[in-house]
């Protein structure tokens, strides 16, 4: 059998970290290697637990999203209405996003499996946002 997918959870809300942990109760191919608050120690800690996938609160600074996405594949966790922050995180290197309020365990499991394969995970609404951005920037760059 393949090695399990190693997942780390970084969010300041302890209760939420536990909830996220339980998303993966039913997935034998996913192992939670640790959970932590975000902060300056996040990066050294991630080096220690070396996850394949990090579930990261979207409030994390963009520069840190970038640093973490060099180490592991990043899925940002966000609330409805934080789309522009998600967009920033995706630009900085995150590969997917999950809505904290409306994610079912099966979706979270599928998302972790997908990004661990290098695939992007975008909701239809977010894909629409990105297309708008792409269209805008292409038009902006036109000669």
């Amino acid at each position: 059998m393949d090695d399990p997918i190693r997942v780390a959870i970084v969010d300041d809300d302890g209760a939420f970290r536990q909830a996220v942990r339980h998303w993966f109760d039913g997935a034998s191919d996913i192992v939670i290697v640790g959970t932590a608050q975000s902060g300056r120690e996040t990066l050294p800690w991630l080096h220690e637990v070396h996850p394949d996938v990090v579930l990261l609160d979207v409030a994390t600074a963009t520069s840190q999203v970038h640093e973490i996405s060099v180490l592991a594949r990043v899925i940002v966790l966000h609330l409805p209405g934080q789309e522009s922050r998600v967009l920033e995180a995706l630009r900085a290197g995150a590969l997917g996003h999950l809505d904290k309020q409306n994610t079912r365990p099966s979706q979270a499991i599928a998302a972790v499996r997908a990004v661990s394969r290098g695939e992007a995970v975008l909701s239809p609404a977010m894909a629409g946002w990105i297309m708008d951005e792409v269209t805008r920037s292409r038009r902006g760059n036109a000669p």
């Binding site: 995706l90 695939e119 992007a120 894909a127 990105i130 951005e133 920037s137």
Partner: protein, 218 residues
């Protein structure tokens, strides 16, 4: 609520008729027109201003990718949905880059089709993982271009703002208490960074990016 207005572009008559029936009967959409090729689709989209264009990829005269590019450039509010026979259609991503909001396989279930049109009308995009990954790559690449172009120094930005107001180098130099030579140097830096060749183009970029506005200072 007024019905979703749909334009159908496909070179096969039977397929158009089938689509029209599903749109009208199941979706309660208003089919505003049927185009037999890309050129017709562009013209009809311009004239009829549909909410959604259902676009075949391979059509005579003008293909679906090029038609999508023209339609969305013309009117970004029109949402184009590409219809294709194959999931791996190499034209699909080209169509996405051209402005399409997603694609549907032609063997899709009727109800799924209607739901998909409604989703796109709400502003959503229809993606599979492969397409989403390529879309994200494209998004990052374009963002990078934008960032690269934006690295103007504060001094260059000052000059650019005055250029956008239509001032000549001499006046700009006087306003900023600089040598005219310095203004010329900054301007050539600006051209290079913004990938433009004239002060008019530089001013347009500044306007488009919101660095300057057309309102004159009080």
């Amino acid at each position: 609520m007024s019905p979703i207005r749909v334009l159908i572009a496909d070179d096969h008559r039977l397929f158009r008729q089938g689509l029209r029936q599903i749109c009208e009967a199941l979706g309660r959409f208003e089919v505003v027109g049927e185009a037999e090729n890309g050129q017709e689709a562009v013209e009809m989209a311009r004239r009829l201003k549909p909410d959604i264009v259902l676009m075949d990829v391979q059509m005579p005269v003008l293909d679906g990718v090029e038609a999508t590019r023209l339609i969305t450039a013309d009117n970004p509010a029109v949402r184009v949905l590409v219809l294709t026979m194959y999931r791996q259609d190499r034209y699909v991503f080209e169509a996405i880059k051209a402005g399409a909001r997603g694609y549907l396989l032609k063997d899709i279930d009727e109800q799924e089709f209607v739901d998909a049109v409604r989703a796109v009308h709400r502003g959503e995009a229809l993606m599979d993982p492969g397409l989403a990954t390529r879309l994200l790559d494209e998004f990052r690449r374009l963002s990078q271009d934008a960032v690269d172009a934006e690295e103007l120094t504060p001094g260059e930005m000052e000059v650019l703002r005055l250029v956008a107001q239509g001032l000549d180098n001499k006046t700009i130099a006087a306003q900023l208490s600089l040598a005219e030579r310095t203004v010329t140097n900054r301007l050539s830096e600006i051209y290079q960074k913004l990938h433009v060749a004239s002060r008019t183009q530089a001013a347009l970029v500044a306007l488009r990016r919101g660095w300057v506005t057309l309102e004159s200072d009080p």
